[in-house]
Amino acid sequence: MNNSLGREIFANSRPFVSANAFLKEKRRLIPEKPTSATVRFYDDLETAFRDLAIKDGMTLSFHHHLRSGDNVLNMVASLIAKYAIKDLHLAPSSIFPEYKLSDLILNHQIRNITTNYLNGPVAKTIAGGQLQGTLLMHTHGGRARAIESGDLAIDVAFLACPAVDRQGNGSGAFGINACGTLGYAESDLKYAKKVVLVTDTLVDELSMWQFDHKYVDMVVKVPSIGDAGGIVSGTTRITRDPIGLKIAQDTAELVRELGVIKNGFSMQTGAGGTSLAVADAIGKIMQTQNITGAFASGGITGYFVEMLGKGLFQKLYDVQCFDLAAVESFRTNPAHIAISASKYGNPFETSPVVDDLDLVILGAAEVDLSFNVNVTTDSFGNIIGGSGGHADTAHGAKLAIITSTLAKARIPLIKSEVRTITTPGSDIDAIVTERGIAINPNRGDLLERLKGTSLKIMRIEELMDLQHRLGGIPKELPKTNAAVGYVEYRDGTIIDTIYRTG
């Protein structure tokens, strides 16, 4: 069966129709979990694990706010191995290279995985066809939608929580491994059948919390939930690479020419070096023109904290902190506001934050001539990430811009057809590369406004041809016939299939 983008998807799934198809649907909500249970406190995870009576085939969820510094998932993984539980469905919001799940996959103790982003050894194991069941990849907003609707039913949520009080309330703002906001886990908290907060810091009382004890079944005190220093891994500072800076400058110029930078505007960028350079360039324009934005959102870095401090934005809406400067800001600055993944990007949420974005700057591994974007696999089919908030923000923001070099290690960015569609081209407005800018022909309004500017506007086909002249045309690696997973669009439809690497 093919979806509307011509991608073959598995038989019993709902095919992707369009980015706006969800508007015709009603929000589905399962009841939040009963809240009458008292919170039980444990001194070791193994006892709690036994008391949970975890059985073969259950669904266990985790969040990834400690990113590469997380140790809770690994501790639970050790217990799964020890107690020989089989056929589990694991649903962490992301999977980082440090997460030790490959052996559990190879031993068939984990049968299915649902996540928003993965790379490293687990990604390699799955792309190699070793997962017995299926990999399902959500967007951040889509995961919240799946949980609240019951599409992703969670038996036990193991939630790393940097500080917990004696009532069982939990916060990410305090503790020796404070990681800031806990936005990805709010849906798990409210809808999982059992919720376990795993902490290394128990306090008598918290001045503020994000996890309300009424949803919590167990609190487990462990020596360490990980290393908060690891949350910065995978993110960078402003690039010093001249090409990245050129792309950033051109992006800022494009945004300025389009009249986006004005009082009350809102934006989001990723945490990559070029994205932050775009933020820096836009920040300079804002300072020069004395402009104050309404808010910046997303994963928040220290750079946006600085912009907030300079008064360039009135608020930060933060679903996850990308570094310790953001953690500190979240703890101390009331204008730095935690939001849940649902409030951030769930299409069925009333006014999700992404819908209020004027501008989002995103990356891409591949883009095709229809502007479809792949951030899930590379051109060889290796799983290198996933949507995260990519598809959510691209849809919600009034202007969605992809920034990338025209080639990466001689592999062209622009292809006739991307290997995997993560975000539909209908939601992408512009692609900025070091050699030119392509505007989606659907956005005639943008093209009209850019007439007469000094920006180098090219058709996307011209950009692709230019790269082919510069670096040649690489031979396409054929896809195998074996599906290892599926990319789910934010509305729950299947937008593409992920195939086993050759």
Binding site: P242, K246, Q249, E434, R469
Partner: protein
């Protein structure tokens, strides 16, 4: 021309992307930024790049090694070709500049090139500064690049942000270039992370009559282009003067008053030059006539 960007000749990723930056010219370097052990590789890389890359910078310059080094001849042999616009000669004197002109002529003839390669001498020795007018007047010389680091080292003086130490050489070079109708390229600013200081340094050079500046990092190019382009208020003023001059001329007036100030021939000439520059850099807008 406003900006001349140095790119190390032995760095493939920088070389292949040299054309994406808004520099008016790129100087591919074979001298200081290329280690002795890398000279051969750099020549080969640049030769291959220049003959095969489908997109070259607007203007291509090569900084060769100085004439008193063992690399000078090999640099010319490897790279003199139709793709080159300028040879940048370090530690230039009148004698070495003239000799380079002869060597270029011989190679152009031998290779039957379709073009005439120009020379940009680097004035970085006290002796060169003394004879800079003669260097500027030498055949093929289209610009002079001031090299402040070597100059300061030889003079045993310290370069400061305020630019006092460079007042004389900048002025001397600027005057020599103006007298010969060629480009005066100011020395690069070496702190690539300090954008504010770069602007100040650009201002220091422009104030004394330098008309362009070398960049040692692509991030400096934008600021240099801006500093050496006419500002919008200057362009507006120039348009106003030229328009008023046309009206005055139709009435037979050589001197006239505009906004309470007397406008005469030198002022009109300055306005015309400003407009010409603005047009050259696409800054004049559509109603510049």
């Amino acid at each position: 021309m406003r900006s001349f960007l140095f790119v190390p000749g032995n760095n493939p990723s920088m070389v292949q992307n040299a054309d994406v930056f808004p520099a008016d010219a790129v100087i591919f370097d074979l001298e200081d930024s290329v280690h002795v052990a890398e000279k051969d590789n750099a020549r080969r890389l640049l030769r291959d790049y220049l003959t095969s890359h489908p997109s070259l910078p607007q203007k291509v310059a090569i900084r060769i090694n100085a004439m008193d080094t063992p690399y000078y001849k090999a640099d010319l042999e490897a790279l003199v070709a139709d793709e080159i616009d300028y040879i940048v000669l370090p530690k230039a004197t009148v004698t070495t500049t003239q000799k380079l002109g002869s060597d270029l002529f011989a190679l152009e003839q031998k290779r039957e090139l379709n073009k005439h390669i120009d020379i940009i001498p680097i004035v970085e020795l006290a002796a060169s500064l003394v004879e800079v007018c003669k260097i500027a007047a030498t055949s093929r010389v289209v610009a002079i690049l001031f090299g402040a680091e070597d100059y300061c080292a030889e003079m045993e003086i310290k370069r400061t942000l305020a630019g006092e130490a460079l007042f004389f050489p900048r002025s001397q070079i600027a005057v020599a270039c103006r007298a010969n109708g060629i480009i005066a390229i100011d020395t690069p600013f070496t702190d690539v992370a300090d954008d504010e200081a770069l602007l100040k340094d650009c201002h220091n050079g422009a104030l004394l009559g330098m008309t362009a500046k070398a960049a040692i990092h692509p991030r400096q190019v934008g600021a240099i282009n801006e500093a050496y382009s006419p500002a919008q208020d200057q362009i507006d003023w120039a348009k106003k003067v030229v328009k008023a001059e046309k009206e005055a001329s139709s009435k037979g007036l050589g001197v006239f008053s505009l906004d309470g100030k007397m406008i005469d021939k030198p002022v009109i000439e300055r306005a015309r030059k400003t407009l010409a520059k603005a047009k050259q850099y696409n800054l004049a807008g559509q109603d510049d006539e």
